[in-house]
């Protein structure tokens, strides 16, 4: 019964950890707007945590600069399994307008497995919620595979 409860709950309580990998702050503000009364992602159980060790979903914004690369990867490693990595905005996905710059090490998918990409500059809050909801389903799936 205990295992069943865990399986039931894994997708319903996704805690977010937000990493800014050299973002212009546009996506960061948009992520916070998802938690405001208008969009209220907390009704799906989303909560912003302060420490990567509490998180289930890591949201990465920004084009992953040379300066931030090492720190991003180390933060992601500190998230306990099962975890999900979501990139927000076009920057971590493709480099966006910063593509080819000497200081950009991205895209993020070169270094870690990315589960969900939310494209846009910046993505609409609806798109962000949609992407995060997809991530919760992947999370529940990962928990199932972890047990096997």
């Amino acid at each position: 019964m205990f295992k069943k409860l865990i399986a039931e709950s894994t997708g319903k309580s996704p805690w977010l950890f937000h990493i800014n990998a050299g973002s212009c702050n546009g996506c960061d503000i948009e992520l916070v707007s998802v938690l405001t009364p208008r969009y209220d992602a907390e009704r799906l159980g989303f909560k912003l945590t302060g420490s990567p060790r509490h998180a289930d979903i890591v949201v990465v914004t920004g084009p992953v600069t040379e300066q931030s690369l090492n720190r991003v990867l180390r933060s992601i490693e500190q998230v306990p399994d099962p975890k999900c990595i979501v990139t927000m905005g076009s920057c971590p996905q493709s480099g966006n307008v910063f593509r080819g710059s000497y200081s950009v090490a991205g895209p993020l998918s070169k270094y870690v497995h990315v589960d969900v990409d939310v494209a846009g500059c910046t993505p609409k809050p609806e798109a962000v919620i949609d992407g995060l909801y997809l991530a919760t389903q992947i999370l529940a799936q990962k928990r199932k595979e972890m047990k096997k």
Binding site: I6, S13, D81
Partner: protein
Amino acid sequence: MDAVLNALRYLGYVLIFPGFLFCFMTGLLLAGIDRKLVARMQKRVGPPILQPFYDFFKLCGKKTIVPAAANKTVFLLAPLLGLAALVVLQLFIPVFRIQLHLGGASRDVADVIVILYLLLIPAVSIILGGASTGSPYAGVGLSREMVTVLACELPLVLVLLGVGRYVGRDTAGGICFSLNQIVDYQMESGSLITKASLIPAAIAFLLVIPGETGNHPFDAAEAETEICEGMLAEYSGAPLGVFKLSHAIKMLTMTSLFVMLFFGGVGAGVEHLVALMGLTGGAAAAVVTILDILVMVLLCIVVTAVGISLVHAVTARLKIEQIFKYYWTVVSALALLSLVLVWYGL
């Protein structure tokens, strides 16, 4: 035979009724209602009421990372210590007149002093756990937690002295420290919240509740936006879940203590109601027991709504020195006012 039955009964107390299962269910329910109410007050839809249950079980299913620098034994045992202290504490808070047969001395096993001591242990356990990780965030968090605990202690003691003196004056004389006598007194002469001289004390206690539980606006020790949730920064998986559970149970402990100290007279109403229904003997006792528990949980929810949710929704986080100053001036002054009024016979 009796010894076995007694052992079973004790086990039932610890694991089921005022103990673990009851605390687990009611505590997490209170936490869920609190989150929902705050959301509604901010014009949000809010998470489902069962959200804390989901959070707890999800955390049980996560991997636990023990930091390399941490003392593993302390790191893993500290959450259990805090939880155990809270479950034991709940045993000593009476539910109106429900009897727990704790050996020979049935009702006065522990008084307010023991409760004051036990209330400190969860805070100590979280400080121990945080300190064992060696994280600088935990260091900042635990120094703030210690200040918060100290700040809350003075008004709490003053409130308990005021209440004890009021009840003691009318019964045995001196100061009454037995919670059961306080509840008995209220069932005979009305809830203490209705006594004019104790209203400031009730307000002071209501303000102590969010400080003791570490809720907004007194959560500088666990500020997630500035110091990564302080002492919990290095915790993950099941131990983190146990800390979250302890936090929820502490809400139940503090609110039920408030209910018993100031709304104890409601229990008399329940007994009258059952008497009016014409029940007698064993059936009446059973109905009174069930109704008492229900009424207590309901009152706890009301106290949570006023004392924790409303305060959370309308305030922003205070700085640590503001918390200390607030408790030692405003709240302590309210409690002291009550104490002085009671001492001069009002």
